[in-house]
């Protein structure tokens, strides 16, 4: 069993954190991962920065631009992570746009992930049909789960299709938005959360986008298995550096 699947079977609600690798400093990657685990985070999305992050709002865009200016590359990220499994055991996911992975070579990329101990990938701009036709077998061969996104606009039929194609969790985007754009949830989200719950999907859902504090974390996880925090965490490290991660995580779990 993939360690993401194992984690999903646990009783507690999962807190997952996204950060952009190479930000704020090029070599912060390993320390951020270690500290997040130490402070009780359940799962981490390591962002592979891209020059043109279409689905991201200003906070993650800026962190990506800075990370690239700092010199982050796919090769450097893999190098930073090569011994990560000696110190970290929670599930690790790489999240990034398709083009850098495509240039690296999807087969080599997945093989590298397996060697390091990465458990899954989130590639927002790799569509379901292309994944199934060209890449699913490679993911499987290297023990990687692929995580798909759904949004309030995704039709029930499409959600069922995505559920069928997934074998870990579904990344439930909380609202029609780029990352970090909308904060908090309104009645529209409640409706959406209820609709998804009523579909009784085989894969658990983890909610992302718009979660920034303990309130929104609670709301999101009252319906779903867990929640992902990205922009709010990036803002925290950009203000405080990578030293006070404990207070950030405690604030969410409060």
């Amino acid at each position: 069993m993939n360690s993401i699947q194992r984690k999903l079977q646990a009783d507690q609600k999962l807190l997952s954190i996204y950060f952009t690798a190479g930000y704020p400093k090029l070599n912060d990657t390993v320390q951020i991962i270690q500290d997040l685990e130490k402070n009780g985070v359940d799962m981490i999305e390591i962002g592979l920065p891209f020059s043109d992050p279409l689905a991201d709002g200003p906070t993650i865009q800026e962190s990506s631009t800075t990370a690239l200016k700092n010199g982050m590359t796919t090769e450097i990220l893999f190098d930073q992570l090569k011994d990560i499994r000696k110190s970290v055991s929670i599930p690790l996911i790489i999240m990034g746009y398709f083009n850098p992975m495509f240039q690296y070579g999807m087969e080599t990329f997945c093989k590298k992930c397996e060697e390091i101990g990465i458990n899954g990938l989130i590639i927002p701009d790799l569509p379901l049909d292309v994944y199934q036709e060209d890449y699913e077998s490679i993911f499987k061969k290297h023990g990687l789960l692929n995580v798909f996104l759904i949004t309030p606009q995704t039709s029930d039929a499409r959600i069922r299709q995505i559920d069928e194609a997934s074998d870990g969790f579904i990344y439930m985007v909380s609202s029609a938005s780029t990352t970090g754009t909308k904060e908090g949830f309104g009645s529209e989200q409640q409706e959406y959360f209820n609709r998804i719950a009523s579909l009784k999907l085989k894969n658990p859902q983890i909610v992302g986008f718009g979660i920034s504090n303990s309130d929104t974390f609670k709301q999101a996880t009252s319906h779903a298995k867990g929640a992902i925090i990205g922009s709010a965490f990036i803002k925290h490290v950009s203000k405080n550096g990578v030293t006070k991660l404990d207070s950030f995580v405690k604030g969410i779990r409060a």
């Binding site: 043109d52 240039q103 996104l149 759904i150 029609a176 938005s177």
Partner: protein, 392 residues
Amino acid sequence: MYNVNEKGYYGEFGGAFIPEMLYPNVEHLRQRYLEIMAEPSFKEEFDQLLKDYVGRPSPLYFAKRLSQKYNTKIYLKREDLNHTGAHKINNTIGQILMAKRLGKKRIIAETGAGQHGVATATVCALMGIVCIVYMGEIDIARQAPNVARMKMLGAEVRPALSGSKTLKDATNEAIRDWINNPVDTHYIIGSAIGPHPYPDMVTRFQSIISEEIKWQLKEKEGKENPDYVVACVGGGSNAAGAFYHYLHEEKVGLIAVEAAGKGIDTGQSAATSILGKVGIIHGCKTLLMQTDDGQITEPYSISAGLDYPGVGPMHAHLCTSGRGEFISITDDEAMQAGLMLTKLEGIIPAIESSHAFAIFENRKFNPDDVVVVSLSGRGDKDLQNYIDYFKL
């Protein structure tokens, strides 16, 4: 074979590499666009507006003095005479009618030089629809007259502040806007780029160019097919339209002219067919300029309209399949060609179009060859550039 297939690909290029947030809109468009374009009422409205509002058909003009200079027969397809001064309006008329039929109430667009922005703002004024145009902060500064025109037309011009603050980033911002406004908004893309069905839809709206060339040439030369069609390529919409009805006439040479900027090897270029590799940009698999690590790089050209790091998927396929001949032209060559056309024919071309006229210096044609050049736009918007360059 050179048209899009049912999965949205031209050979290995094309597709819809979009985040799930865009899927409902793009899929809805994909399901509807051909059906809507085939509706008699759509065709009628489109044709009427092209005729009475845009001023079509645009003339096919035999350029006598230019032909003498280069000892071949050169015709100019006068897209520069269209309302708003370029071919871009053919596409925006089509897309605004599409948007209305899709029930959309708000229009967004990206623009580089401002030509597409103006063409979009124009059709939105015409239809009384809200219009927001994203434009790189740097381009806003260097294309002030077009910014003013868009504002006069009632559009809101929003600066793209991310990345390199030019066309590629304006496109990113427009896509992000669409993600944030998925229900009421239609995104009018300005070239034959983006996720399927955009490249095909834009190409079909622009295909009026080669449709007219066919009958116009028949009138003038007694035959529908020229020996060559020449067009500049930014994203590739005027070229796609000029080539469309000749794609499968293998005897017609298709010449695509790219911007070499300061030169292919200078690091300041936009010659995607030479400098690009297969990758994904703005939802489309195509040739694009990028680092070894897959980061998209910033192109350069003196003409803001050719300053795009990718090329439409149809052109990527024409290039790699050998069906198209790709020529790149430097800033200096283009500027000289612009002046040359002005002096010989009394036509000041857009700098984008000037690139297409620069090929005659080195690419030789036979005396009886018929060569049609897409004169995609007029030079009014570029006057300051010409003034600065030639110290007029």
